[in-house]
Amino acid sequence: MVKSRPRIVAFLCNWCSYAGADLAGTTRIKHRAEVRVVRVPCSGRIDPTFILKAYERGADAVIIGGCHPGDCHYVSGNLHARRRFYVLRELLGFLGIEQERFQVTWCSAAEGEKWARTVDEVCDTIERLGPLESFKSMTDYLRIPEKEISLSDE
C-alpha cells in the first residue's frame, strides 16, 4: 500500500513568516513539499474557524506562522494570537484531537532555515501520527456535489 502523504495547511503572516518561507524558496533551502501556504495580513487575523475549515477539508495539521513578540507590524496582533491559540490548543486536546496537529511558530522574514526545519518536523510528526481521521469519517448530509479543491496531488 502506498503511504499517504501528510497534508498540511499553513497560515502565514505577510510580514514575517510568509517572507521567511519565500526566503527558504529563493535561497533554495530544501524542505518537504506537503505544505500549502495561505498568506494572511497578521497572525492576529487568523480566526479559529480557519483552522476548523482546514481540518474539515482534509488537512492533517495546521501551522500558524507569526512575528516574534515585539516584531508585529501591527504592534500586538501576534500577542492577541498567542492568547487565542493557547486556548484553541487546549480545546483541541480536550476534544480529542492531537495537539501536535496544531503548530504555532514565530518565524521572521530572515528565518528561511527555521521555516524549512519546521515544515520538515511537522511532516515527520504527522507521518508518525497518521492522517487525521476524526473529520474524514463525518458525512454531511444535505451535501450538494461540488467540485472541491483537492489538497492532494493525486
Binding site: D47, P48, T49, L52, K53, E56, P69, S76, L79, H80, R82, R83, R84, F85, Y86, V87, L88, R89, E90, L91, F94, L95, G96, I97, E98, Q99, Q103, V104, T105, W106, T118, S134, F135, M138, T139, D140, Y141, L142
Partner: protein, 293 residues
C-alpha cells in the same frame, strides 16, 4: 420551600419601582405547574406580590438584560433591576466589562444563596452550586440576606472535567462525537447563555459560511467548537446552557473547561471584577508561550 428572604425582596422591589429608581425589574415568579419557577418582568410596585425567592430559582436572569424589552431600556437611558445570585452577578459583571451595559443602568439586587435545585422532585443541589465561591455576592446595589442565609451546599464536588481529562485521546473524541451527534441545533443553549448576546451569530451566517449549518455531526462539532472559543475566559459556569438543552448534552463542559484553563494559565476569572479588562481584549508580554516553536 419558601425562603425568609422573600418578604425583604418584595419590599425592596416595591421601593425601587414606586420611587421610579428603576423602570423594570426582572425577578423570579411562580410558573403554572407545581413548584416550577419562571422569570417575571415587573413594571409596577403593585405587581411585586408575584415575586418569589426559593431554592428553585436557578435561572440566570442576566440573560434577559441583553434581550428586549430590557435591552432597549439599558441602552436608551433607562434602568433595569435584576434579582441575581452570586453566579448570575458574575455574568452581569462580564457584560459591564465588555461595555454592553453601563454600571448605573443596572440595579443589582444580590441574593444571599444557599444553592438551587433543578428538578421538581430533586433533593440534590444543582451540580453547579457545589463548591460555589459567591454564595454571598460581592457586587450589588442592594443585598438581600446575609452570611447567615448562605447555607452549606451539600453533595459531591463536580468533577466532570477531570473525568474527561482522565480519558485518552480517542476516548475523548468518542465521547464528544457521541454527545454532540445528538444536538439538533435548536440553539437553546445559545439563547440561554448570558454571554451569547451577539445580534448576529456566526453560526447563522452564510456568506461566507464558516460553520456548517446542518445538524449533522460535522455541523454540530463546528458549532460547539466555535461556541467554546467564543466563551473562553467569558463563561461564568452558570450552567444555563446545559439546563436548556433538550438533548441532555453537557453543553457547558467545553466552555467551562476553557474558562478554567484561562484561570489556571492567566490568573483571570470571568466576572469577578467589573473593572478588569476582558481576557481576549488584552495581552501581556509574559503570557504563556511555551507551546510556540
Amino acid at each position: 420551600m419558601t425562603s425568609n428572604l422573600e418578604e425583604p425582596l418584595r419590599a425592596k422591589a416595591a421601593e425601587l419601582l414606586s420611587s421610579g429608581k428603576v423602570d423594570l425589574l426582572i425577578g423570579y415568579g411562580r410558573a403554572f405547574l407545581g413548584e416550577s419557577v419562571r422569570p417575571v418582568f415587573l413594571r409596577q410596585d403593585a405587581d411585586t406580590a408575584k415575586l418569589i425567592w426559593n431554592d428553585r430559582c436557578a435561572h440566570n436572569l442576566a440573560t434577559y438584560l441583553m434581550k428586549e424589552p430590557c435591552l432597549g431600556l439599558v441602552k436608551g437611558g433607562g434602568r433595569v433591576a435584576v434579582v441575581a445570585k452570586g453566579c448570575d452577578i458574575r455574568a452581569i459583571a462580564t457584560l459591564i466589562q465588555e461595555n454592553q451595559i453601563e454600571r448605573d443602568r443596572v440595579h443589582i439586587i444580590g441574593m444571599a444563596c444557599s444553592g438551587v435545585r433543578y428538578d421538581e422532585d430533586s433533593r440534590d443541589m444543582a451540580i453547579k452550586c457545589r463548591g460555589c465561591e459567591v454564595q454571598l455576592p460581592a457586587l450589588y446595589d442592594d443585598l438581600i440576606g446575609s452570611e447567615a442565609d448562605t447555607g452549606e451546599v451539600e453533595g459531591e464536588p463536580r468533577e466532570d472535567i477531570e473525568r474527561i481529562l482522565a480519558l485518552d485521546r480517542s476516548a475523548r473524541w468518542e465521547f464528544w462525537t457521541r454527545e454532540l451527534s445528538r444536538c439538533i441545533k435548536c440553539y437553546a443553549c445559545r439563547q440561554a447563555c448570558p454571554m451569547c448576546y451577539c445580534g448576529e451569530c456566526i453560526t447563522e451566517k452564510s456568506r461566507p459560511q464558516w460553520i456548517d449549518k446542518a445538524a449533522s455531526l460535522k455541523g454540530n462539532i463546528a458549532f460547539h467548537y466555535i461556541r467554546a472559543m467564543h466563551l473562553a475566559g467569558r463563561c461564568v459556569a452558570c450552567g444555563e446552557c446545559a439546563r436548556a438543552c433538550p438533548m441532555n448534552i453537557p453543553v457547558d463542559l467545553l466552555s467551562r473547561f476553557l474558562s478554567r484553563r484561562v484561570e489556571e494559565a492567566y490568573a483571570y476569572k470571568a466576572g469577578m471584577d467589573p473593572e478588569a479588562d476582558p481576557f481576549f481584549l488584552v495581552n501581556r508580554q509574559d503570557d504563556p508561550g511555551e507551546f510556540i516553536r
